[in-house]
Every structure is written in structure tokens, then in C-alpha cells.
């Protein structure tokens, strides 16, 4: 789950001040002074980067028309990590191994690695040790609330913590969740993208004249950074915010993007649509959408605008990528250790073809293996060839609000403010007349109202509620708008 879907928080996926806000503008979140969270040296960020590579990185940071970078992030990969990733790349891209890693149609159900994971979690995690379960079918399902309550109970004690980095997600409950991430696993996502593109016939060469990967967001406040990909021969990458206020002068955004000519662009459906509507030529090899639903109309718009491949990648921050749709059809489980189930409201497993909540078992992040994890998203299971796939994936619907002056405000902007000012859970609805009613658990109503008014105008009403139950049963639909037709 990304910050587009959810919210901002501390860490690299968190927001930082846009230019105006950095100068003290309305709605600035003081936690995120530019570069305030960047503490490592470049040698620590890119342990294997050569002096030549460092020179190139310096030029990249200072490239003409660059946005106001507000953070620094490297890949943290050591020489040993490169060896591990080299082997993973060979495994992922070797044609003979295509299709392995997840559930195979003719394989065991659940796959053998699932039972091995149960055994490992029983021996090394507090949560599963307490349960004492010895087989997958004895396990109850777990949810995000379990992680929020005590994430350490799910982190295997046999794992070293000396290289742990933060990942954050706010999720549907509104309570921020900090999870431990592993640098090698993060970079494995790049290899996964190479494989997914290869599967649809897209070659992604290490072209030094082009930016290898551009991650785009479009929100009021966001971390942005210039970086390099050492597993792609030090090719450049960046995370940029399309919000006009994130750039020094008008026109910089388009000039920067055109010069970068990113090969692969990742973002949410909303930020990718915002990019598509800019007057700029990019010639991307592929777009990778995530975080929120990519509607058929949005897919068509992106495909027609760029005449290129569009992948819709589904997953959560907690689980990593789970499934991908390359053509608007079913989301096929990606080639990593992913086992999916579909359950009804009572937690009963449903047969293929019946729609219910998707429950994921993943063994990717060594610091957070997850067994029978409720995703909160829905769909039904099927097979595409010998691969597990999801039909009718839903649950990531993006919501935009309309401000009094007509601007569209993505829900992530509201999440940032609500979370920053102490709200723990909420349900925010905009009526047809534009009035916004926020029902909130935690925080001061007057302060929250003022924060929301800076985004939306004066027609905001904030009510506090005493318990999460007052926000409604099940997964709270935190944002809804009768005026939401954007995107």
C-alpha cells in the first residue's frame, strides 16, 4: 500500500514540504523539512557506487530543471547483496523457470514452501509460537490490526536487524503501521519488474542516456529524491511529485521529464493520469500502475497516450507485489512466493469463481513473512494457464474531493493532515452540495477542521467519535465523495 492509497508518515514514503509550504505556507507539515530525514552518507546509500558513478549522481541531482529534491534515498546494496540479486535475476529471467515461485496448477495446495514457512514462523515468531499450529490449515487469518498492535510478534527472531529500514502504510484503519523492510527484498522488486516486462515482450536495457525508472506521485506533499540503481549499472532513477508547487519555476516539470525520458514509469493510476495529461514527450517502455484501481477507462487513456505497455500491479506495502494485470484482464500472481485464498465474511474459504476477500501468504520480506494475511481487497480466484489469477479485483478505489475553488484534492492529502494532527481513524464524506463531514477518532476537532479547511475550503464539519466501532462495521471506507468523478 503506498502513500497515494493511504497516507504520509515518517520515512521515505512520507511527504515532505512542497516549495510553498517549506516557506511556511498553509498546511505545511513541519516534520518534513527539506532533507531533514536524510542522514546517511552517499557511501552508505550506495556502498558499491564507483567514483565515476558518484560523479554521475552529483550531476543527476543538479540536472537542469530538477525539482526541489526533499530527500535522499539509496539502494543500500553491498557487494554480497549484488551476488544474491544476481542469482535471483538469473532465476527470475531464466525461461525454464518461468511460472515458478507461486502456486503451480499441478503443484501441492498449499505449496510446499507454505508449510515450511509455517514451521519457521512457529519456531521463530512470538505470534505463531503462541498458536503452536504445525500446519497451514490450522492457522487463523491475521489482519493489519494484528500488525498494528504488535508487529514484533511477526518478525522472526532469527533475523538480524542491523540493516532494517522503515516501510510505512496508513491502511484502512487510519492507524499508521511501521514495518521492517530489507534492502535486498526492496531491490528484488526491480528484478520482478524486469521479469514482468519480459513476460509481455518488453526489453528493458540498461540505457545510460535515459532514466531507468521514474516514480511519480501527484500530491500536495511528498518525499522526492534523485537516486541511482546499482543493480542496473548505476542507471539513474528518481521519485518526483507532479504537483506544480514541487518545482522551482513553471515549465521545469515538463523540461525535466522530457530530458529524463524515463524507460519505466511507476505511480498510482491517479499520478499516471496526471502525467499523461502533461504536454511532454517521454517514449516510456512501460508504465506500472499500483496503489489504487486502474479502471478500464484509465488504462485505455494511458495506453493511447503513450502507445505502450501498462501493468497494473496489485499488492500491499506489508506483502509486496502480489499479482499483475498486463492487459486489463485477470491479475496473475507474480513469480514470487505468493499463495492466495479467497474467504467469505466469516472467514470460510471459497471455491474458485466465488468472490470474497483475498487472503495472502507471502515469503518475500525475511523480516515480515505473512501467513493468511487479510488484504481487505476482494476478487475471485481462477487460473490463467498454470498460474493463479484474480478476477474482478476491487478495493483500491481512489477518491478525490472537490475544494470550494473547484480544485480536485486527492484523499492522500486529507490523510496526511488527519494523521499529522492526531486522528487515528476516520470516515470522511463529501455530499452533493460539497459539504465535507469528517467523523474522526482522536485529535482535536478545531485543529482538524482548520487543517481540512486549508485543503477544501470552509464547508467542512468535523465530528469526533469515541470508538472505532462508531465509524461503522468492517473495513471502514474512510473516504467517499458524491462529487468524485475525476480520474
Amino acid at each position: 500500500m503506498s502513500d497515494e492509497k493511504a497516507a504520509a508518515s515518517a520515512g521515505p514514503v512520507a511527504p515532505a514540504p512542497i516549495a510553498a509550504d517549506a516557506a511556511g505556507g498553509a498546511g505545511a507539515l513541519p516534520d518534513y523539512a527539506a532533507m531533514g530525514a536524510a542522514v546517511r552518507t552517499d557511501a552508505e546509500r550506495w556502498p558499491t557506487l564507483s567514483p565515476l558513478g558518484l560523479d554521475a549522481l552529483t550531476r543527476w541531482r543538479q540536472t537542469p530543471h530538477a525539482p526541489i529534491w526533499v530527500h535522499e534515498c539509496g539502494d543500500l546494496l553491498t557487494a554480497e547483496d549484488h551476488e544474491v540479486l544476481g542469482r535471483r535475476r538469473a532465476e527470475l529471467l531464466e525461461p525454464a523457470r518461468a511460472g515458478r515461485g507461486g502456486a503451480d496448477r499441478d503443484g501441492d495446495d498449499p505449496p510446499a514452501w507454505v508449510e515450511a514457512l509455517v514451521d519457521r514462523c512457529r519456531r521463530h515468531t512470538t505470534f505463531f509460537g503462541r498458536l503452536g499450529a504445525t500446519s497451514f490449515d490450522q492457522l487463523p487469518m491475521i489482519s493489519r490490526a494484528d500488525l498494528v498492535r504488535d508487529v514484533a510478534a511477526f518478525v522472526p527472531r532469527d533475523q538480524p536487524l542491523d540493516r532494517v529500514v522503515q516501510g510505512t502504510s496508513s491502511g484502512s484503519s487510519g492507524a499508521a503501521l511501521v514495518i521492517p523492510l530489507d534492502p535486498v527484498e526492496i531491490s528484488t522488486e526491480l528484478l520482478l519488474l524486469e521479469r514482468l516486462l519480459a513476460d509481455v515482450g518488453v526489453d528493458w536495457p540498461h540505457d545510460p542516456d535515459r532514466v531507468g525508472l521514474l516514480s511519480v506521485v501527484d500530491q500536495r506533499q511528498a518525499f522526492t529524491y534523485a537516486s541511482v540503481l546499482t543493480i542496473r549499472d548505476d542507471q539513474r532513477m528518481a521519485r518526483v511529485n507532479l504537483d506544480p508547487a514541487a518545482w522551482c519555476v513553471p515549465g521545469d516539470r515538463e523540461s525535466f521529464l522530457a530530458a529524463a525520458r524515463p524507460q519505466v514509469v511507476t505511480g498510482s493510476a491517479l499520478s499516471l493520469l496526471a502525467l499523461a495529461r502533461l504536454d511532454v514527450r517521454l517514449d516510456p517502455l512501460a508504465l506500472v500502475s499500483g496503489a489504487v484501481d486502474l479502471t478500464p477507462a484509465a488504462r485505455v487513456e494511458l495506453e493511447q497516450r503513450w502507445q505502450t505497455t501498462v501493468l497494473d500491479l496489485w499488492g500491499l506495502k506489508e506483502t509486496g507485489p502480489l499479482a499483475v494485470s498486463t492487459d486489463g484482464g485477470p491479475h496473475v500472481v507474480v513469480p514470487r512466493r505468493v499463495h492466495l485464498e479467497v474467504v467469505d465474511g466469516g472467514g470460510r474459504a471459497l471455491p474458485d469463481g466465488e468472490c470474497g476477500e483475498l487472503v495472502a501468504t507471502v515469503d518475500g520480506n525475511p523480516l515480515l513473512p505473512l501467513l493468511r494475511y487479510r488484504t481487505g481487497d476482494t476478487g475471485s480466484l481462477t487460473w490463467v494457464g498454470d498460474r493463479r489469477a484474480i478476477v474482478g479485483l476491487e478495493g483500491r478505489a481512489p477518491v478525490s474531493f472537490r475544494a470550494a475553488d473547484g480544485r480536485l484534492v486527492p484523499s492522500v492529502d486529507l490523510t496526511q493532515q488527519l494523521q499529522h494532527h492526531g486522528a487515528r481513524s476516520w470516515s470522511v464524506h463529501q455530499g452533493r452540495d460539497g459539504t465535507v463531514v469528517a467523523r474522526v477518532l482522536g485529535g482535536q476537532p478545531a485543529v482538524l477542521r482548520e487543517a481540512l479547511c486549508t485543503l477544501l475550503g470552509d464547508a467542512v464539519c468535523v465530528e469526533t467519535v469515541p470508538t472505532p466501532a462508531d465509524l461503522g462495521p468492517g473495513k471502514p471506507r474512510r473516504f467517499s465523495s458524491a462529487l468524485d468523478g475525476a480520474g
Binding site: P12, L76, A152, S289, G346
Partner: protein, 212 residues
């Protein structure tokens, strides 16, 4: 280690081990152990709606009075909590509470005692995995049965209070030591993880590539 120290070091805050000053005669221990062995799979099935099960249990052990039962539930047992092991323990406890042998001797106020027992047994599972409750290990079955009786301020039929307490101490000592060890281990691990995650370098994090 004294009881006080033990509890002080025990982050689960368990009340399972608290000494009982008095108890009333209860059912045969063997009957309760047999009831435990006969726990229907449906009780520990995920389909069980715990709230409904608790209400049914209260209906069985006591005519529902004019009091606000739901209010009791909210006060005494956090039934909205998502702690799966605790919910399973509560479900099994409901099954044991409705044994005719238990209902027959349960002192008043029955609903309050039952809810208290559910809470205490939900704590027991933190240190004694559900699998061992339902295993063939008779010592563990006896431990669960004695834990429930103590939670209800009862003692096995035919035992004095002092004898019952002695036997409880004896049979639960291994679990108790293990509980303290596991709790301390987890607390240290959780503190280490929190410390590592809050370090500035961890917060700077690594570049992210996808938007899942």
C-alpha cells in the same frame, strides 16, 4: 522469584497465576478434562462469531437479567480485539463453561464470573498454545481444567482449597517458567526492533520502486 516479581516482569500482565484465597467445591476434574477433549471442531473454527457464542454461554449459565449484558462484555472482555489466539481461547472457555457439571455448581453472579473466566483464559493462551489445550497431553488438559476452575473460584471435587492450589502450582510451574521466559524474550525483541526502526538511518530508508 516471588509472585509480585513474576508479575512485574510479565508483560502479558497475566492474572492466571494470582493466588486464590478461597474456592468453592466444583465438578470432577476428569469430567472437565473429558469436556475439553470433546471440544467440537466448530468451536475453534473461524466461522464462530465469538460475540454470539459468549451471549449464548451467558444465556445458558444464567437467565439474562435486566442488566446491560453488552455493557458487561465491553467492560470485561475485549471482544472486538483481533487477537486470534485470545478469541479462540475464549471460544473454548465458553464450551467448558456450559458443561452441565460446571453450570450446576457455578456460584453467583454467574455472568460476571463467566466473563472473568473468559478473560483469564484468554491470558492463559498467551503462554499455553491452544494446540496443547487440545492435545493428548493429560497434564496440559489438567492444567487447562484447573486454570478454568480457579478462574471461577472453584476447585476440583474432592480436593481441599490448599490441595487444589498446591496441585495447580505443581502442574503449572513449567508453563509459568516458560511463560516468563517467552514474555521476556518477546519484550526484548520488540524493544530491539522498535529501537532499530526508530534509528535515523532506518527512517531514511531505501529508494522505493513500485507503488503497491
Amino acid at each position: 522469584m516471588t509472585d509480585e516479581t513474576a508479575r512485574g516482569n510479565d508483560p502479558i500482565g497475566s492474572t492466571v497465576w494470582e493466588p486464590r484465597r478461597a474456592s468453592s467445591p466444583g465438578p470432577e476434574l476428569g469430567a472437565l478434562m473429558a469436556r475439553l477433549r470433546a471440544t467440537p471442531p466448530a468451536i475453534v473454527d473461524e466461522d464462530v462469531v465469538l460475540e454470539a457464542l459468549v451471549h449464548d454461554t451467558l444465556d445458558l449459565v444464567e437467565e439474562r437479567g435486566p442488566g446491560d449484558v453488552l455493557g458487561h462484555l465491553d467492560d470485561r472482555v475485549d471482544l472486538t480485539l483481533k487477537d486470534v489466539p485470545a478469541r479462540l481461547a475464549a471460544a473454548v472457555t465458553c464450551w467448558l463453561l456450559t458443561a452441565p457439571e460446571v453450570v450446576a455448581v457455578l456460584p453467583a453472579p454467574r455472568a460476571a464470573r463467566s466473563l472473568d473466566a473468559i478473560r483469564r483464559m484468554a491470558e492463559l493462551i498467551a503462554v499455553l498454545p491452544l494446540r496443547s489445550w487440545l492435545s493428548d497431553d493429560e497434564d496440559r488438559q489438567e492444567e487447562v481444567a484447573r486454570a478454568l476452575l480457579r478462574a471461577l473460584a472453584l476447585r476440583p471435587s474432592g480436593e481441599t482449597h490448599e490441595l487444589a492450589e498446591d496441585r495447580w502450582t505443581s502442574i503449572s510451574s513449567t508453563t509459568r517458567r516458560e511463560a516468563l521466559r517467552l514474555a521476556a524474550q518477546h519484550q526484548a525483541w520488540a524493544e530491539e526492533l522498535a529501537r532499530r526502526l526508530s534509528e535515523e538511518k532506518a527512517r531514511e530508508a531505501a529508494a522505493q520502486y513500485t507503488h503497491v
